[in-house]
Symmetry: C2
DNA sequence: TCCCTCATTAACTGATCGGTACATATTTAT
DNA sequence: ATAAATATGTACCGATCAGTTAATGAGGGA
């Protein structure tokens, strides 16, 4: 299987898992929708879990690239970028295929304490916190680490409410809190 | 089936679904663990979805009762109670069997736009917001509705992070934000 | 005692689960 | 050109999925 074929398999599997959930998406469906037979899939991923982990790696890359870039496009100061994150989230919430945070959902479906999928989901959040913390430090905030973790709480809360309510208002509400936090 | 038998069935099913997830928990396992045969279960619940909805009703009742009572025990002013919510959440996070918010997980597994389970999960959050809003109004806040929704965002964010990180620090971090909000 | 009713159950349905054995292309090396 | 190696698809594995069928059980009224 070529590198591009493999990448497309992961990309299509991502859409299926994101839309339908992990347990609810069978490997037969993955094979049918990707046009790659199950045997071939299992040649490159020993288990469904390994495929999910590969999907989460792609999602982490795509999502953080998109978010960081959008934050930079919307503002040119560190503090402005942290606030602009909530505008970017609002754009995401308004997308037709918005279905919440893939990592929250992965963690919810595989929450055994030491599960690799749970660990990888949390690793994604830690990378986000690291980015926020760097920006908070550049912005001259007194406690960049705490501020970063607080921004993460606001972000996750806004996403959860947006996914359940099918509205984007939580983005603005969270932004107002962040404005106080960073003032 | 007696009323108490039915209540115990729902109670045991709740634990199974909370621990293992909804799709991952089969009806055979529910029958085995509750000691009630599948046929009897399906006599009282036409589908698995109906059982899940009954479970969520029980969870809504239990969780809100517990949270509201704990908030009242920990503080005697409206504002104090809203802040005490985060102390109560911290207690919850430290429980051995803490596995995140059942409604977030239900919504994540059944997120089709108009799904009854999703709707019921969101209804639970709306009941929480209503309670927060009443307290915010009693506390004399200028915009009780927005404050209530912001507190919900903090609560959900703290829960998601606690579930993924297996720590309780998000409770304190969220509380510090709430203290600014309600100041 | 007999019959009726209703709750309960074991055993089963076809479909799907994650994963595999094996036979058949297709590619690569010589 | 040919043989070895790799990639792929079909057809299947036992287990489990949500849900049902047909038989059994106990309890109550006459």
């Amino acid at each position: 299987m070529s590198q591009s074929k493999r990448a497309e398999l992961i990309r299509k599997a991502l859409m299926l898992f994101y839309r339908n959930g992990f347990h609810a998406t069978g490997m037969d469906l993955v094979a049918r929708e990707t046009g790659v037979s199950k045997t071939s899939i299992y040649k490159h991923f020993r288990t469904k879990e390994e495929l999910i982990l590969a999907v989460l790696r792609l999602r982490d890359e795509n999502f953080r690239n998109w978010l960081y870039r959008r934050m930079e496009e919307l503002a040119d100061t560190p503090k402005g970028q942290l606030l602009a994150m909530f505008d970017a989230l609002g754009e995401w919430f308004r997308e037709d295929n918005f279905k919440g945070c893939m990592f929250i959902k992965a963690s919810a479906e595989f929450q055994e304490h030491d599960h690799a999928i749970n660990a990888q989901a949390y690793a994604h959040k830690q990378l986000l916190v690291d980015h926020f913390e760097a920006l908070a430090r550049q912005a001259g905030l007194s406690d960049p680490h705490v501020s970063a973790r607080q921004l993460l709480i606001l972000k996750e809360g806004a996403i959860v409410i947006a996914a359940m309510s099918h509205t984007d208002t939580s983005a603005k509400e969270a932004k107002r809190i962040a404005e106080d936090l960073l003032a």
